[in-house]
């Protein structure tokens, strides 16, 4: 039971991170490899807000959300918009976002140094609950609640609001969306902002969960995020949620039963099988090719 809950907590963070990834891919058909750098940056910024700014853990979350959104706008403007009309926009976007991620990580190193950072002692409330015989901290409950709330909010926004309709229209056909009066550039920028804001919150939640922030934490979760969005189906939001939870659970159980060094083989073995059997992922839709 304890393992199950741990799997769900860590899985919900994976899901939140992966949803940011898959949102950009699903709507704009671009893989943003600066996403993991946003994840790492926001963890450091979150710690600084608590440490120097004297904010409580929870007050730091919305600030980090906004920070992430701003980063998202920067990423879109610098790494993706200039490539908009290029034939090789796919490859070029990958590389330019990797470059931007490198700059971001270098800046983090400048400001925070190469060492691992932690939240100041006493930042975490001590409240614990017992659920079906398993220990659960208040922090873990809040992590789960925040992740779920953000994912529900995102789903509502994409399916019900005017902006969400714009996003779906752009995903379907950018040219047609433009003709119909959708401001494609604005929708693109907003998509990046939301995506990065979610990635940022995931980063700070991850840092809270393990009480560390490292420069390499983005790279560590990047692969998992890619695995999750493939398993769930590229561009599928509920798919990313299910994929994230699945990965979290699989990891926890792999550590328990097979040994921690084999964790990634489980994740990627699963990924590989799904790609072969169902390339569109669990919940993804196959795009029909036009002649």
């Amino acid at each position: 039971m304890q393992q199950l809950l741990n799997g769900i907590f860590i899985g919900s963070i994976y899901a939140l991170f992966a949803i940011g990834f898959t949102l950009v891919f699903g709507i704009l058909d671009r893989l943003n490899l600066a996403h993991p750098a946003v994840f790492a940056a926001s963890a450091f910024v979150g710690i600084e807000l608590v440490e120097r700014g004297g904010l409580s853990l929870w007050a730091a979350l919305p600030v980090v959300f906004v920070f992430g959104a701003v980063l998202g706008l920067v990423i879109e403007r610098v790494a993706f918009r200039p490539l908009k009309n290029r034939a090789d926009a796919h490859f070029a976007g990958l590389i330019s976002s990797i470059a931007l991620a490198g700059m971001l990580i270098a800046l983090l190193q400048w400001r925070y140094g190469p060492d691992t950072r932690r939240f100041p002692p006493g930042s975490f409330p001590d409240t614990r609950f017992e659920v079906f015989g398993a220990q659960v901290t208040l922090v873990q409950v809040v992590i789960l609640a925040v992740s779920l709330a953000l994912m529900v909010g995102l789903t509502y926004m994409v399916t019900r609001t005017r902006l969400g309709r714009g996003m779906r229209a752009v995903a379907e056909n950018p040219t047609a969306a433009r003709v119909l009066g959708v401001n494609v550039d604005r929708v693109t920028a907003v998509t990046f902002a939301i995506s990065s804001a979610l990635g940022a919150v995931a980063g700070v939640l991850f840092a809270i969960n393990v009480n560390t922030a490292q420069l390499g934490m983005g790279a560590a979760i990047e692969l998992k995020g890619l695995a999750v969005i493939i398993v769930g189906g590229m561009g599928s939001l509920p798919g990313a949620l299910i994929g994230g939870l699945l990965l979290g659970l699989a990891e926890v159980f792999a550590v328990q039963h097979i040994g921690s060094s084999w964790v990634n083989v489980i994740a990627f073995g699963l990924l590989f099988v799904i790609l072969l059997l169902r390339p569109q992922g669990l919940l993804g839709a196959r795009k029909v090719r036009e002649v």
Binding site: V78, H90, G102, A219, M234, L271, V291
Partner: protein, 601 residues
């Protein structure tokens, strides 16, 4: 002097070889990150299995290790490639990445690899050896570039579907490119192992794979020198920073990333785009000398070319094409007309093998359509153009047509490696063929221009030239005159008739009814997926069913667009075949009207 820079130079060579393993697939438009896995497998198996340098000497030991490593890498590529070759773009990248990660973790958990501590390997590799290996790899890709095989890979990168229609076996070519990547990555893995003294599975992780990819893309993935330039750039930038006294820490990675960003944003073709690209033109005049080209057997006039019986296609309950019986005989020029959505394109897609029929049967040039891959049907002698131009955009007009000649030219890559004169003769023959086709459509002056830079009308003509280059028996044109003005359309009509005089069988879809009536020997009218009329142009034009299909019935007050499109049919119906030039623009029956309505809907 050299000794001082030996380490840097060796790492440039190693980085470049690894980048070539990405280049090998990028040139075919495949994004793979599995090379790190191939390199890891090769490095460990090569270092583990090869005899120790102390026993057999440095060079033999390294050569054996390289042979083992390249075989292991290539084998790994086959094993990974067979199940994943149907994946595209990001999906392929992530699947191959998953493979590389799995390899890394498995190696990490083996005892013979030394696990995380790594495996000690004697240092054998010298600068000279590294650069020799690099030179060989670069030479391979240099000779590949202008061979038939190299062009086919580029065509696949630019437009896979069009490449298939040119008779290129895309699956085989993609797998071949992937295996090359595996072998080159294997070479890198072994050379790396014999240089750094201690290899660990984590030397071949995700970060390493991304670095290889970045090097290839920064250098330029469309020109064989790209990976070398990229590796030089990636290795020298930190060195220069160190030399000018930029201190370690955050500034170096920051500047390196910034430079990378600048290169990718402002040099679309990578560093290699700074090198001017020579465009090759055929030497000698475009005469009718067809030596060096594979011969084609064309059906005799009157032999059946296409036989359709009860052919139908259904999309989720909607019958796009229903019960079509049609026979086209060699030498005919058949025009396929009908209102929008009548199923014309679906019908020709079935004939050219792009879309499998859901009912009925079709035989094209002796090949049964259905389960036959597109490239086989092309090989049987079918060549086509597309409704929306599907050119190889970043290739020159001439190269586009050269790809079109894939089926009639001979493979030249292996012979080019050894500079055999026969390879040169065959390449010249293909070039002459391409030049002839360009001349035929009147594009000789624009041969060196990129396809994407041509005007719309020229792009349509280029597609026809490309289709002609394979010396087809059946030519299918899907709305060749779309977007042409009436002067261009009249010229196109003349071209089609001259091709028919050469004995080519032609099936073409066109909305420009006047042009169809003037050009064809037979007209087939399709409406709601069914053939409603078929016969000589003037018979069909007078057929009440056809007029109704275009105009709507007399009682029904047809909407504006339908009426105008119909007026063309009616207006030209009674006119003699030459009437196409006499139609007054502005009158109801202008030639451009049907195109305009088509574009608007």
């Amino acid at each position: 002097m050299l000794g001082q820079y030996a380490t840097t130079l060796t790492f440039i060579a190693l980085g470049a070889i690894f980048a070539y393993s990405f280049y090998a697939v990028l040139i075919a438009g495949q994004l793979s990150l599995g090379q790190a896995g191939f390199a890891a497998l090769a490095a460990f198996s090569g270092a583990y299995l090869a005899p120790a340098p102390d026993d057999v000497g440095d060079v033999p030991s390294l050569l054996v290790a390289v042979a083992i490593g390249m075989s292991v890498g290539a084998l790994g590529a086959v094993v990974l490639g067979l199940p994943t070759m149907h994946l595209r773009g990001v999906f392929l990248a992530i699947a191959t990445l998953g493979f590389a990660e799995a390899v890394r973790v498995v190696l990490l958990n083996q005892e013979w690899t030394g696990g995380a501590q790594g495996l000690g390997v004697p240092r054998v590799l010298t600068v000279g050896m590294a650069w020799t290996a690099l030179a060989l790899v670069a030479y391979w890709f240099w000779r590949m570039g202008r061979s038939r095989y190299g062009r086919a890979l580029e065509a696949i990168r630019e437009d896979e579907l069009a490449a298939r229609s040119m008779g290129i076996d895309v699956g085989r070519h993609r797998l071949a490119a992937f295996i090359t990547a595996g072998a080159v990555a294997g070479l890198y893995g072994v050379l790396y192992a014999y240089y750094v003294r201690l290899i660990a599975p984590n030397d071949f992780d995700f970060v390493a794979a991304v670095e290889g990819l970045v090097t290839a893309v920064v250098g330029g993935s469309t020109m064989f020198l790209g990976p070398l330039l990229g590796s030089g750039f990636q290795t020298i930038v930190p060195e220069i920073q160190r030399a000018v006294g930029v201190e370690a820490g955050w500034i170096r990675p920051f500047l390196a990333s910034l430079l990378l960003l600048v290169v990718i944003l402002f040099l679309p073709g990578g560093l290699a785009s700074l090198i001017p690209r020579r465009t090759r033109m055929p030497s000698g005049a475009a005469d009718d000398d067809a030596t060096g080209l594979a011969g084609r057997r064309h059906p005799e006039a009157g032999e059946p070319v296409v036989t359709l019986s009860g052919l139908g296609k259904e999309y989720g309950g909607v019958h796009a094409v229903r019960g079509v019986d049609l026979e086209i005989r060699a030498g005919e020029v058949v025009g396929l007309i009908g209102p929008n959505g009548a199923g014309k394109t679906t019908l020709v897609n079935m004939i050219s093998g792009l879309v499998p029929p859901s009912s009925g049967s079709a035989t094209v040039l002796g090949t049964t359509v259905g389960s036959t891959p597109v490239h086989r049907i092309a090989a049987a002698g079918v060549s086509r153009t597309f409704q929306h131009s599907k050119l190889f955009n970043r290739l020159s007009a001439l190269e586009n047509v050269l790809v079109g000649a894939h089926l009639v030219s001979r493979p030249t890559f292996l012979r080019r490696l050894f500079w055999l004169p026969s390879a040169r003769r065959d390449e010249q023959a293909a070039l002459r063929q391409a030049a002839r086709c360009l001349e035929r459509v009147g594009l000789s002056e624009l041969a060196a221009n990129r396809a994407e830079s041509l005007s719309y009308g020229d792009q349509r003509r280029l597609e026809i030239a490309r289709a002609l280059a394979s010396d087809p028996s059946l030519l299918i044109l899907d709305e060749p005159a779309a977007g042409m003005n009436h002067v261009e359309a009249a010229r196109l009509s003349e071209l089609i008739r001259s091709l028919a005089r050469d004995g080519l069988t032609i099936l073409f879809i066109e909305h420009n009814v006047g042009m169809v009536l003037q050009t064809c020997t037979r007209v087939v009218v399709l409406n709601f997926g069914e053939v409603i009329a078929s016969g000589a142009p003037d018979e069909v034009a007078a057929d009440p069913a056809v007029i109704e299909a275009y105009l709507g019935s007399a009682e029904e007050d047809a909407d504006g667009t339908g009426a105008r499109a119909g007026a063309t049919a009616a207006g030209t119906g009674d006119a003699p075949p030459d009437a196409v030039a006499n139609l007054r623009p502005g009158a109801a029956g202008t030639l451009d009207t049907p195109d305009a309505t088509r574009d608007a809907t």
